[in-house]
Amino acid sequence: MSATRRRARPTRSGGAPLTLHAHAYADPAILERERREVFAKAWIAIGHVSEVREPGDFAAGSIAGEPVVVVRDETGALRAFSNVCRHRAAQLATGSGSCGKVLRCPYHGWTYRLDGTLAAMPEGRGFGEDFDRDAVRLPEFRVDTLGGLVFVNMDPAAEPLREWFGDIAERFEGLGIERLVPVTARDWQPREIMRGLPDVIRSRRLDDARALVPAAETSRMWVSYDHNWKTLADNYLEGYHVPIGHPGLLRLLDYPKYKATLHRRAAWIDGPLRDNPSRDLVERLYQRLQRPMPEFPEELREQWTYIHLWPAQFIDIYPDSIDIWQMHPDGVRRTRTLFMVFRSPSEGVRDRVARRLNSVINSEVMDEDVVLCDGVQAGLESLTYTRGVLNDNENAVGHFHDLLREAVPGIDDGP
């Protein structure tokens, strides 16, 4: 070892693991390295297998702001491309759907075949005789599916998807996400809400009308937060703050049994539900109406389960629905997050109401977390704070930080 080489930072204090250096949450240079070393080398879920079943089907998405599109080509193979037009960088596709035999840029109409090559461009002669259109093609990325989700990786050298997620892959496949369908705006038609009313009325009281008012649901919903992506991730990863930050949740969750199990590039968090009725109307209604989707694994029916897939994909596994919450850093203090929600194809009105109640309960939890994260983000940038220590109940945060130390050497060194 050379004498000038920096000594490795200690990552424990006494027996307790240390958090990352606070500087890592506020330094644009570190964010830039995370984009390249973490996100651009990771397998990121872009959509659901049902969205790209037939030739011509596509699903557009993003890898930390890098636009990508997955298509099923004419031979039936899944392919992933840069979603950036080679002309002047417009995004070729948005959302999901079928594009037929070509991807056509919505800006000036450059038209790409489903193998990424350029078929033609309008007014092609205007680019001059020597312009080599056959050389134009969309950069191609790796694509694979696991447990019903379509993942893309921009790094040609990355391990295959299954090996990458290692020991959690099989457990993940057992969730049966491939048998679910993405929630779309069409799932909440006024007539159906009306049909759902009797169920709610029968449960005696109706003082929370939000339960029946549909959010503008689409299969992909973006929400931005004013926090570093790791501030949000840390918050998701531990239950230590639940009794203090979300006291209401203690009525539903059997906190002493809340437990995170660590995997190679993942954490699996069990949040068993209590079986006594909550005193809160919305929660009690949820308890009463909620019944597991027929596709739902037996052993998870009595709990809420949370999975973290490296680097920033969080899967909420509720008996009534499964959703993915994905983070896309958009600045050191700005994170765009993507929600994709999946439900049973046989979901009835009662189940929809239960799912809606679940989302009311969990949006409240999220509101509470946002306030906490606002404080944490400011605290991490305080002149008086460098790093903290982790409780046993924060083991998944420690694991996440270790993965970051491995992926971004020096992330922990401070300014």
Partner: protein
């Protein structure tokens, strides 16, 4: 959403190159064949853009393709002939982004591709 449902007016995005170069090319090729160009010329294109639809545009491309094929049979090897063939080939390459090609259009597209690149 790209290409999912073709908007009623999207086919108009195909027309500029044909409007710009079509009339003169048609004139010359028809001239070489001793045909009257009027039915395919400038007035026809303008009329289509004003009042036509996707189906009418495809019918127009079919008529232009037939002209190119007659020219080829008659041995018209002028640069105009190749340019019009290239423009039409591109029309059929671009068209699936804005409308649905029928089997006859697909066949025209294949013949143009082969004409320009016999390998």
């Amino acid at each position: 959403m790209t290409g999912r449902s073709h908007g009623r007016h999207d086919w108009l995005g195909l027309t500029p190159e044909v409007e710009r170069f079509g009339p003169i090319l048609v004139d010359r090729i028809a001239g070489a064949l001793g045909e009257a160009p009027d039915a395919l010329g400038e007035a026809r294109i303008r009329e289509l853009i004003r009042t036509g639809d996707a189906a009418a545009w495809l019918a127009y491309l079919a008529a232009l393709t037939a002209l190119v094929e007659r020219g080829r049979e008659a041995g018209v090897a002028a640069p105009e002939h190749v340019i019009l063939a290239e423009i039409l080939r591109d029309q059929y390459r671009l068209a699936p982004g804005v409308l649905r090609l029928g089997p006859d259009d697909e066949a025209r597209s294949r013949r143009l591709e082969e004409m320009l690149d016999p390998s």
